[in-house]
């Protein structure tokens, strides 16, 4: 009887762990893995962008993936690849970027089975006039992700610039290009 009572106590003590989440250990592990995998995608995005690895960047998107910023929409890996070429040009072989990098931070992931959403922040840091790094562009990303063929991919990334405004940014870019042209002369 004593043994039975002990067993009952042990069962009662064990029950809440499962009841709280309603998930098995394997399902809970899968959630942790999914969160790590999606955080990694946010960082791979910056890494491929900064290295001008356009194929690697496009491959982070789902087949039907889209990149959105204001009225600009680029859908599908080919269109996204072309957007990068238009933006940065084709990098020379062995290109090493010593002009800029993106800090990717503040990830917030929400998992819904084979779909997920993610919010994060980006800060573009580029070479200032004296060579020291200078924060140039700050914004937010809002992503929708999908598990496609067993891997997480970006289904939709919306880039929301915070500062400067798109108009201000246009002027900044023009001034920077003019200064770089001047330097080359």
């Amino acid at each position: 009887m004593m043994a039975r009572r002990l067993l009952l106590v042990a069962l009662l003590a064990a029950a809440p762990a499962q009841a709280q989440t309603g998930l098995t250990i394997e399902q809970r592990l899968q959630r942790v893995e999914d969160e790590l995998a999606i955080k990694r995608i946010l960082i791979d995005y910056s890494a491929t962008q900064d290295a001008r690895d356009y194929a690697g960047y496009a491959n982070l998107f789902a087949k039907e993936g889209e990149w959105v910023n204001g009225k600009q929409v680029h859908k599908g890996r080919d269109a996204i690849h072309k957007m990068l070429v238009a933006l940065y040009g084709a990098p020379p072989p062995g290109y090493v970027n010593v002009e800029s990098y993106h800090i990717s931070s503040n990830p917030r992931i929400e998992l819904h089975g084979d779909r997920a959403t993610a919010k994060s922040r980006h800060l573009l840091v580029w070479r200032g006039p004296d060579g020291a790094p200078l924060p140039a562009l700050a914004g937010r990303y809002e992503d929708e992700l999908i598990r496609e063929d067993g891997h997480w991919k970006i289904l939709r990334r919306v880039d929301y610039p915070v500062m400067p405004t798109p108009e201000e940014w246009g002027k900044v870019i023009q001034a920077r290009r003019a200064a770089q042209q001047q330097e080359k002369k």
Binding site: L29, L36, A47, V98, H102, V125, R127, G131, A132, P133
Partner: protein
């Protein structure tokens, strides 16, 4: 069917699910370990900045293996004594540091059994002229790590690749600052 055969068949039937359960448990264990490894290595990347900025030289050296090496474009420092000696150029151990800090970000960790590689980014932020923080140096870390007998991880090799400014620009910035002081 003989009794022996029947017993053997029963044993086989019973054994199949048991093996499957054992395999599944082993795979869960391996997957969990992988997630734990990734988190532990991310933590080392952050601990590195914390100990460096706090001038905790003992703690900093302890992040490296006994044959651990730190290098950048200027030089290399291998082993605890050499690494510690490099740190003492920053001032006395344990000194309060309110003049700079390292912001580390973008960790990418690849675990291969008992070895791992990691890349991350650093932004060294210094006290500016009016006291406000000013980004001074930006770069990338590339690390090789090894699992220790106690299950923890240590850095065997860290390469700090400065992105900006260039070495020459940095020398100019520092000289200008010293002249202004």
């Amino acid at each position: 069917m003989s009794l022996v055969l029947r017993a053997a068949a029963l044993a086989l039937l019973a054994a199949i699910p048991a093996t499957a359960v054992a395999q599944s448990a082993a795979s869960i264990e391996a997957r969990l370990r992988r997630a734990e490894d990734e988190l532990a290595i991310q933590r080392i990347i952050v601990d590195y900045a914390a100990r460096l900025d706090a001038r905790d030289y003992k703690g900093y050296v302890a992040l490296f293996t006994p044959d651990g090496e730190w290098s950048n474009r200027i030089g290399s420092h291998k082993g605890p004594e050499a690494i510690r000696k490099m740190l003492t150029t920053l001032g006395p151990e344990g000194a309060t540091n309110t003049s700079n800090y390292h912001l580390v970000s973008n960790p990418r960790v690849e675990v291969n059994g008992d070895r791992a590689t990691a890349t991350s980014r650093y932004l060294f932020v210094m006290r500016g002229k009016d006291g406000s923080p000013r980004p001074a140096l930006a770069g990338l870390y590339a690390d090789e790590l090894v699992r220790q007998s106690d299950g923890g991880w240590k850095i065997q090799r860290r390469v700090a690749n400065d992105v900006m400014p260039t070495r020459e620009e940095w020398a100019k910035i520092i000289a200008a600052e010293r002249a202004g002081q």
